[in-house]
């Protein structure tokens, strides 16, 4: 049977204001993913803690009055993956512009997902709302479970009732919290203590002019100006700090080395940070150090392999690239006379391989290159070794 999933998200982003809600409004929103219906400010009412006290409910009012920006989407998404991608893009955006710290464990960024299913082309089905999803993984799991559950229900001849449900990460299932019948008539009316806020054009312009470049625009610029791949550009702009590290490094290493810088920020730096569970702000290597390293790769002083060794030393012991090269003797051999001498020695000691190569065995050539690299302790430039070897054997 063919079913179409329909998802709309309500994302609550706790604002990083100094004060609670009634003391001042927060900044306006810059980017507008097409799907956003509206954004409104609300205050956190506090929360009930059902799990922490056996047989009782705890009430945590610590966050009461904290301002939240709720961003409501259209029911535009058609899969859990799409919903996650939207939520991630929003997460990047709000942390990027600094209106939300994005901490999902602490509930600074959480989603309610409105999920329904229908036959393609039919009107929207009845939705159920999954409340308070505080990780992208849970968001995906919850929607997938809910979609399966709803399809099963309908195929078994049941009707979906409008309801609010909770996702239990332990069982991976959603469970009913309340149905529409229990819904309260909130009796909303304009609060006389909240006066209308008049936003002056000037003020909006001023905010707009002080907005940082947004991730989407920056991603496009990286591709256009530095010739980066979509993958690299998107990776670097997924986090404002990473993008800043990249641009800072690039400014020192030179734009010609953009691809190299991107590779190193996304590769070695990112891997090391992940390994040690550090944020980019906590990286022991500064953009200036990385830029120095990149320059030495670019000018041929370091092979990629040597560069990784230098990076390792920088990471653990600190220091500038040239000093490390000097101290550890990691400089790539650029003196071709020296390399030639070693090649001659290797050829003399490996007559069998030479013979095999001349008999047409390509593999033997690689073995010889390996021997030369070994004899130079990796300091020879592999392409130079290749070239010299070919000349000698040719």
């Amino acid at each position: 049977m063919n079913w179409e999933t329909v998802i709309g998200l309500e994302v609550h982003t706790q604002l990083t204001t100094k004060s609670k809600i009634f003391s001042g409004a927060s900044t306006a929103f810059g980017a507008e993913p097409n799907t956003i219906t509206r954004a409104h400010l609300e205050e956190d009412a506090g929360k009930s803690l059902h799990e922490d006290f056996a047989g009782m409910t705890g009430i945590d009012l610590n966050r009461a009055g904290t301002p939240l920006l709720e961003i409501v989407s259209e029911p535009d998404m058609r899969s859990a993956k799409e919903a996650v991608a939207y939520a991630k893009a929003l997460h990047t955006l709000v942390t990027w512009i600094g209106t939300c710290d994005g901490n999902m464990q602490e509930g600074s960024f959480r989603c309610d997902a409105n999920v329904s299913v229908r036959r393609p082309g039919e009107p929207l089905g009845t939705r159920r709302e999954i409340k308070n999803l505080n990780s992208f993984r849970f968001l995906e799991q919850a929607i997938n479970y809910e979609v399966r559950w709803q399809i099963e229900q309908i195929e078994d001849g049941h009707k979906i009732q409008q309801a609010t449900v909770l996702f239990d990460p332990d069982t991976g299932e959603t469970r009913m919290m309340r149905t529409k019948e229990d819904a309260h008539d909130y009796r909303y009316f304009p609060d006389p203590d909240l006066l209308p806020v008049k936003l002056e054009e000037d003020w909006i312009e001023q905010i707009r002019s002080t907005m940082p470049e947004l991730p989407g625009a920056m991603c496009e610029r990286f591709q256009r100006d530095y010739g980066l791949s979509v993958y690299d550009a998107a990776g670097l702009t997924s986090q404002r700090e990473a993008a800043a590290f990249f641009t800072d490094t690039l400014a020192l290493a030179g734009e010609a080395n953009a691809k190299l810088v991107a590779n190193w920020v996304q590769g070695e730096l990112s891997a090391s940070l992940n390994r040690e569970e550090k944020s980019i702000a906590e990286a022991p290597i500064a953009p200036a150090q990385l830029a120095g390293l990149i320059k030495r790769i670019a000018d041929g002083t370091l092979s990629n392999k040597l560069a990784k060794q230098v990076f390792e030393v920088m990471w653990t012991e600190g220091g500038e690239v040239d000093a490390i090269i000097e101290a550890k003797g990691l400089k790539q051999m650029s003196d071709s006379g020296e390399v030639e001498r070693i090649i001659d020695e290797v050829l003399a000691a490996n007559a069998k391989s030479v013979e095999e190569f001349r008999a047409g065995k390509e593999k033997a050539f690689n073995a010889l290159v390996g021997q030369v690299m070994k004899a130079t302790k990796g300091k020879a430039n592999p392409s130079q070794v290749n070239e010299l070897l070919k000349n000698k054997l040719g």
């Binding site: 008539d185 009796r187 909303y188 009316f189 609060d191 006389p192 203590d193 006066l195």
Partner: protein, 515 residues
């Protein structure tokens, strides 16, 4: 003397003829004698009052006295005052001792004015006779079988009886002006936003406004100087330049025609059916008084009073139903004793903690805000409110102040309207439009009916015209002596001092009691 004005007391203090402690003891003595009969105070705490009086005397001794330092004042029990029981006239808050001061209270503290006590009021300020108070009705000092008006009935009665030289009140639909009229004193409801509502227990937030109640317009001006001012803790508090509301009073004026050029608006709607003979006559006489010195205009149009009442009794209960939902027995105040679960606790707490009138208004408010009724009631009422404000704006193109009666009748008998909410609501028929429009309004004594009960003249001004209104009222009080007439209780107290000296009975100053 029991009938001394603030101004006179301030002069006595400034010239060293009395001290704040001595003054406070005088008033506390009167309260001890008269309050059991009047029930104007919910809480009196002599020790606390005298400690504040001693502090005020010390400030004066240090040469740092302000214009009213040492003059005591009573506060309506709607204002949170640190360390004081603050009940709002309700069982719901019968045990609530405020941990902080309302803005109004801290302003009076900063001015060095000791608190004489917390005055009785209709429960959550909902009422026009002070009969809805959990602490029992207040008696009118002019006739103790009659109501003092409400909701600031305790404040009006204590000033009229000489138990306090002045008191604070709040006015949501007439709660300063109507009791001022029924008790023969002067009261002012300022422009909405002039006095901060911070720490003032909310009834209907878009209408509530605090103001002074005293014996003269001049005293009201001095008190407004203390109360008014921007406060960031109230989002509707207005940021304006500080002004001296009594500035026009002290300045020399044209003695022959002190109000020359003043244009008076006389809306015919304020003189329709329902206005009884004596009240109508007294108000007409007052207007005649003004005609000799100002430019009367008789054609000014005003919102039909009946429409104001209708709009008000949708909007005020709507806001009240929201504001009063905070009283749930969880955090502070009354909580029922026996309950099965949380919902049961909420329900019993509210059923037992609120009185009948409060429940009636919560029900009305809940109803008009409910899904399906909102557009028909709440939205309609808000539109009417806008029209009322526009009508006033139109009127003020042609006049400076509007004159009329404050209340349709003089003080009625206790219990007379208690079972007829509509009749009770109509007590505020002339005052309510002012709150809906956010305008300033005053009531001042302008005569007596055949029974000797005081009649109030209402003065409505344009936004922020308090200084001018006070001057108009002041000129009237310079020319008349209605405001100088003493209620029987105050007369008794004025004579008591002499008697007291004769018998040399030691003055009161007892330990704090809840009365």
């Amino acid at each position: 003397m029991a009938h001394s004005t603030l101004k006179q007391l301030a002069d006595l203090l400034a010239t060293g003829k009395t001290s704040s402690v001595e003054l406070s003891q005088d008033y506390l003595g009167r309260i001890t004698r008269q309050n059991p009969g009047l029930n104007a105070f919910i809480t009196v705490d002599a020790e606390r009052t005298l400690a504040e009086a001693r502090a005020a005397d010390a400030v004066r001794a240090a040469g740092q006295a302000g214009p009213l330092t040492g003059v005591p004042i009573a506060h309506k029990d709607i204002f949170c005052a640190e360390g004081w029981l603050t009940t709002c006239g309700s069982k719901m808050l019968h045990n609530f001792v405020s941990p902080y001061d309302a803005h109004v209270i801290s302003q009076f503290k900063a001015a060095g004015m000791p608190t004489l006590g917390k005055t009785n009021m209709d429960e959550f300020a909902m009422g026009s006779s002070n009969e809805t108070s959990f602490y029992g009705p207040v008696k009118n000092p002019w006739d103790t079988a009659r109501v003092p008006g409400g909701s600031s009935g305790g404040s009006a009665a204590c000033v009229a009886a000489g138990l306090a030289p002045a008191a604070t009140g709040t006015d949501t639909g007439g709660s300063i002006r109507q009791p001022a009229a029924l008790c023969g004193i002067t009261g002012l409801k300022p422009t909405y936003g002039v006095v901060s509502r911070y720490g003032m227990i909310a009834f209907a937030s878009s209408l509530d406004q605090a103001g002074p109640m005293a014996q003269t317009a001049e005293d009201c001006g001095l008190l407004l100087n203390v109360m008014a001012g921007f406060d960031p803790r109230d989002s509707t508090s207005l940021e304006r330049e500080k002004e001296d509301y009594a500035r026009d009073l002290a300045e020399p004026h044209d003695l022959i025609k002190p109000l020359a050029g003043l244009r008076i608006g006389l809306p015919k709607e304020f003189f329709g059916a329902g206005l009884t003979g004596d009240t109508a006559k007294a108000v007409q006489d007052a207007i005649a008084q003004f005609k000799s010195s100002a430019l009367p205009r008789s054609k000014s149009a005003c919102p039909t009073p009946g429409l104001s009442v209708a709009a008000y009794y949708v909007i005020a209960p709507a806001e009240a139903s929201s504001n009063l939902s905070r009283f749930d027995g969880v955090r502070y105040g009354y909580r029922t004793h026996d309950y099965a679960d949380l919902t049961d606790m909420y329900e019993k707490t509210r059923a037992e903690g609120f009185g009948a009138e409060v429940k009636r208004r919560i029900l009305i408010g809940t109803y008009v805000l409910s899904h399906g009724y909102y557009d028909a009631y709440y939205i309609q009422a808000q539109k009417l409110r806008r029209l009322i404000a526009q009508d006033f704006a139109e009127a003020y193109k042609h006049c400076d102040v509007i004159l009329g009666p404050t209340a349709p009748t003089t003080a009625f008998k206790l219990g007379e309207k208690a079972d007829d909410p509509v009749q009770m609501y109509l007590s505020d028929i002339y005052t309510i439009a002012v709150n809906l429009a956010g305008l300033p309004g005053m009531s001042l004594p302008c005569g007596f009916d055949a029974l000797g009960l005081p009649i109030g003249l209402q003065l409505i001004g344009d936004y922020f015209s308090e200084a001018r209104m006070l001057n108009v009222a002041h000129q009237y009080q310079l020319a008349t002596d209605w405001h100088l007439q003493l209620s029987p209780i105050m007369r008794m107290e004025t004579e008591y001092k002499a008697l007291d000296a004769l018998l040399s009975v030691p003055e009161a100053g007892k330990k704090g009691t809840m009365v």
